[in-house]
Amino acid sequence: MNRFSYLRATSIDEAVRAAAADPTSRFIAGGTNLIDLMKYNVERPERLIDITRLPLNRIEEADGGGLRIGALVTNDEAASDPRIRDRYPLLSSAILAGASPQLRNSATTGGNLLQRTRCYYFYDPGTPCNKREPGTGCPAAFGRNRIHAILGTSEHCIATHPSDMAVALAALEAVVHVAGPDGERAIPLSDFHRLPGDHPEIDTTLRHGEIITAVELPPTDYGRHYTYLKLRDRLSYAFALVSVAVALQMDGDTIADARLALGGVAHKPWRDPEGEAMLRGQPAAEDRFAAVASHILKDAKGYEDNAFKIDLAKRAIIRALSQAAAGTPQSQTDKRIQ
């Protein structure tokens, strides 16, 4: 860990100005990931800007019938909020699938989106890593890559984004509200995280100095036709090998509309509009789900340790679509998968 200075911001303006003035600064809220990264010398900010006193900790009704979740709302508050449980149970379920109660009590909505990959190499400064030190190489591609990506990788990086919450938000077509030196803007969640390409060191489209103020959920009506299915190397407290968030609008046995996002497979929550379109107007049938799964994974590329994820992802998609169509979402406490 390096030495750093500390500023407790009292207003969004102050936080943004302080961050914009210092390219080595980082915002800190729950700190559940940043502090770890600092201990490992992966992140070495010279200034920490504490934003926990900013008025961003409320969940409010949004214009047009949605909900607006303040960036500082903790994961636990979001998951247990009656409005979210009632209107966005997919989000609540995904959050509860992640981390541990202690972490969820501390981690925030904005921080969850900005958490960094758990790639072994990224975390270990004794090894090369293009995300940590651009230009040094990606040993994961030829090394241990069990937890790595199978979609949207580049020769420079095969890391995944580890969040569960973000996968649900992608399926719910949430919008990220940010404030920055140039004012406020709104970023669709699907455009918030980026693929590694030639610049794996850049995780998101957030510009330096910008701060997440809220995540807005548009109105939806999926009822019980959703699920968050997370597959991992133990029954709890592990990052996803593959996860699937599904929300379906059912018209009898026919799928009127479908949203599906994958976690644990790419540098961002993975959506495939063509795959979703293949479900629209179709009966909820397993062969159709299989066709959709094959389509979504058609360009997947496996590596030595993680090639199994391609098959696993297909099976998980089929199961998740079956659960959502039947209105029997996956429980996050009973570890039996329906």
Binding site: R234, L312, I337
Partner: protein, 745 residues
């Protein structure tokens, strides 16, 4: 009538429980000193080669940094390997921290940064710049397999495989039923909650008081003395509480060396705590490739048994453990061939990990026996009974006691094994396949020479001391029980002090030998105090016990009284007062009986039954029920004993399904070096565990009949789970852990 103070065999709460849950119990890194400085270890980025240059100027320039120790400025230490060898060291040249510029494994400590504050040391450590010259390294056992060798020098207390008997190859060729397969268990790291730490207090007179996370306070003390050329009176090591160790702590680790060196050089107190990722930079359970060939008659009786193992060791020591001997110990066979070899890789030397050797070897043989059960069409329990070893055939000895048959029977009954449909894939629960599997467990009942002291004071309090440690196993509690019962005192009147090098001599805690060894020593010391007390009581004027012999009296509630007339007796304090003594004390030893060990073999046994649910499409396994029936002689405290077995079973679930230290062979480095990516079971992974202690009358190993419980719970569990997965799915996975990828497809 059950006499008062009859504690042995009764469930008792941990005497150290309150101290642990209130935080009163202090661990190595929690001790403080007014002049305490903090050391942070810098680890090597390469696996093999040498340090070309090491630039410490930026680190030293940080105000508050006291020194950066490297191979260039380290203090002089002992010259000979023997000075670095501890009581559990395997043959070879022990690793010497900061010895020279050479790098022999990934993560090797290359510098220690010491500063006035922990944060300063951490910051400065990140500023040390090192240039390396790399040599080609090799960490892949498969590529070193052809260079495997029989260790030329045996590790003490580790039996090499016995000589072959009969003609195993010939018998196999003729056998009507055969099984031949290769089995692997991934490298594991211990991952105790408490990371390794040493706080070295530099006393005003220049002596050292060291709070070390270790399984052997005296082992650490003698290591420090011999490496740094100090007399034993200058070094005291205290380790009263240990936050789990599982075998990671018998050998003095490099943080101890570094902290002592810094303290001596700086002449002030120093603390060094390893980080979680540095817990992956020393010993581990070695990667082991095992090949087993079984030949049997159609009735399942073995006619040929071959079991070969190749294990990783380092380039500087020949680590050894007992891997293959268990096969013949469990099963009768006339044609037996067992081999054990090592292959060198560029890692640190492996180190004992809970049931070293047995956890690996028994996993393989018990998986192979399950395969044989299907090949011969015989129930797995029945197959084991048909091949039951009545004697220790390799050593030509009889067992001191062996209630394994009862383990099979009681375990099977409790589990409901009779209702099992033997056909794989035949049982379902909704969408999930159901699998029932079983396996045998075995571990040696070992005793080591150990001393203990008992001091009874006139106020009726008894103090028990021994240098042995309690790594969370319940040693404090069982020693207290034994002392209280032997001397006839309430447990509350007994204080047990252990984990200190200044106390009566004890080996490291390990091998499940502590209860038998320290327990017997405590019993002997208390018996000695009894005799003295009885002598004083008889010598009292008009003593009501004057004509009694020690066989005719009992010691209850601080009194000596006649067995047939309990109202007649003498209070301890009165006897001591009459004799004019304030205290009665004795130090006694306990050792394994030579005659017993020449004629008999002592082992604990278990039968593990497991119920798994498998979601086949998604490759997900849940271990929903475990019954573990254990025969281990006298169970001193069923409550702490059950906890031991529960922990062992959880360890086995980890081995079966989750635990794997992933080496990147390109970098020669363990990559998943944290608790997020090295998966140990969490609460959700653990369902019902039912522990049965099978009654076993043991009277040869030691007077109390103790065999020990630290290891037996893990042995067999992984194989039982693997066998259950086969029963559920029809898929045999021979590489543990059985992860999702191995079950898909």
């Amino acid at each position: 009538m059950q006499p008062a103070n009859a504690y042995i065999g009764t469930p008792q709460n941990r005497v150290d429980g309150r101290a642990k849950v209130t935080g009163e119990a202090k661990y190595a890194a929690e001790f403080d000193a007014p002049d305490l400085a903090y050391g942070i270890v810098v680890s090597s980025a390469i696996a093999k080669g040498r340090i070309k240059s090491i630039d410490t100027s930026a680190a030293l320039a940080v105000p508050g940094v006291l020194q950066v120790f490297t191979h260039e400025n380290r203090s002089r230490t002992a010259w000979f390997d023997r000075n670095f060898r501890d009581e559990t060291a395997p043959p070879g040249s022990p690793f010497r921290p900061l010895y020279d510029e050479g790098i022999v494994y990934g993560g090797q400590p290359v510098a220690l940064v010491v500063a006035e504050e922990f944060e300063l040391a951490a910051h400065a450590a990140s500023l040390v710049r090192i240039e390396y010259e790399t040599d080609a390294h090799m960490t892949d056992l498969d590529l070193r397999r052809s260079e495997a060798y029989v260790p030329p020098k045996k590790r003490s207390n580790v039996k090499p495989p016995p000589s072959p008997r009969g003609d195993a190859e010939g018998a196999l060729a003729q056998a009507p039923v055969k099984v031949h397969a290769e089995y692997r268990v991934a490298i594991e790291h211990h991952n105790p909650m408490e990371t390794h730490a040493s706080t070295v207090i530099y006393e005003q007179d220049g002596t050292l008081t060291i709070h070390d996370k270790t399984q052997g306070a005296q082992n650490s003390q003698s290591y420090v003395s011999s490496v740094f050329g100090l007399s034993s009176s200058q070094v005291r090591v205290a380790s009263p509480y240990i936050g789990g160790a599982f075998g990671s702590g018998p050998r003095p680790q490099y943080q101890l060396f570094l902290a002592v060196m810094a303290a001596l050089e700086l002449k002030r107190s120093v603390r060094v705590v390893l980080t979680r990722d540095q817990m992956f930079t020393f010993g581990y359970r070695p990667l082991t490739i095992q090949t087993i060939s079984l030949g049997a008659n159609p009735d399942g009786k073995l006619v040929s048994l071959m079991h070969d193992a190749i294990q990783t060791t380092s380039t500087f020591e020949d680590y050894q453990e007992v891997v293959v001997n268990w096969s013949n110990l469990l099963y009768h066979c006339d044609n037996v061939k067992l081999t054990y070899q090592l292959a060198q890789v560029d890692t640190y030397t492996p180190i004992d990990m809970r049931a070293p050797g047995a956890a690996l070897g028994v996993t393989a043989i018990e998986t192979a026996m399950d395969e044989l059960a299907y090949a011969a069409g015989i129930d797995p329990v029945e197959l084991r009974l048909r091949n039951y070893a009545e004697t220790d055939e390799a050593d030509k000895k009889t067992f001191t006691s062996k209630e394994l048959r009862a383990c099979y029977q009681l375990g099977a009954e409790r589990f409901g094994w009779a209702k099992r449909n033997p056909e794989p894939r035949s049982m379902r629960d909704g969408r999930e396949l159901v699998g029932w599997g079983m396996a045998t467990g075995v571990w040696e009942a070992i005793m080591q020479k150990t001393a203990a002291r008992a001091v009874l004071t006139r106020d009726g309090n008894l103090e028990i001391t021994s240098a042995t440690t309690d790594i969370g196993t319940g040693t404090y509690t069982i020693l207290t029980q034994i002392a209280a019962e032997t001397l006839g005192l309430p447990m509350e009147a007994v204080t047990t002090k252990i984990g200190d090098s200044s106390l009566p001599k004890s080996p490291v805690q390990g091998g499940s030998w502590t209860a038998a060894s320290a327990g017997s020593a405590v019993q002997n010391a208390c018996l000695s105090v009894r005799e003295q007390l009885f002598k004083y009581a008889r010598q009292m004027e008009e003593s009501p016990l004057a004509n009694a012999s020690i066989e005719q009296v009992m010691f209850v509630d601080g009194r000596i009284c006649l067995m047939n007339e309990p109202n007649v007796g003498v209070i301890f304090a009165e006897a001591m007062q009459a004799a004019g003594v304030e205290r009665v004390e004795a130090e006694e030893k306990a050792s394994p009986g030579m005659l017993t060990s020449m004629r008999h073999s002592g082992y604990s046994h278990s039968a593990v039954f497991v119920d798994v649910k498998v979601d086949e499409e998604l490759g997900r396994v849940r271990v929903t029920r475990v019954v573990n029936a254990v025969a281990a002689g006298t169970i001193l405290n069923p409550k702490t004993a059950r906890s031991q077995i529960l922990g062992g079973v959880v360890f086995g679930i980890g081995m079966a399904l989750e635990e794997e230290s992933m080496l990147d062979h390109n970098l020669g480095r363990f990559m998943n070096h944290n608790l997020a990516e090295y998966h140990v079971p969490v609460n959700a992974d653990v369902y019902d565990i039912d522990v049965i202690f099978v009654s076993e009358h043991e009277q040869l190993l030691n007077p109390l009949g103790i065999k020990g419980l630290g290891e037996i719970g893990v042995v067999g569990t992984a194989a039982a789970i693997g066998n259950a997965v086969f029963h559920a799915t029809g898929k045999r996975v021979r590489e543990y852990p059985i992860t999702v990828d191995k079950l898909l497809g």
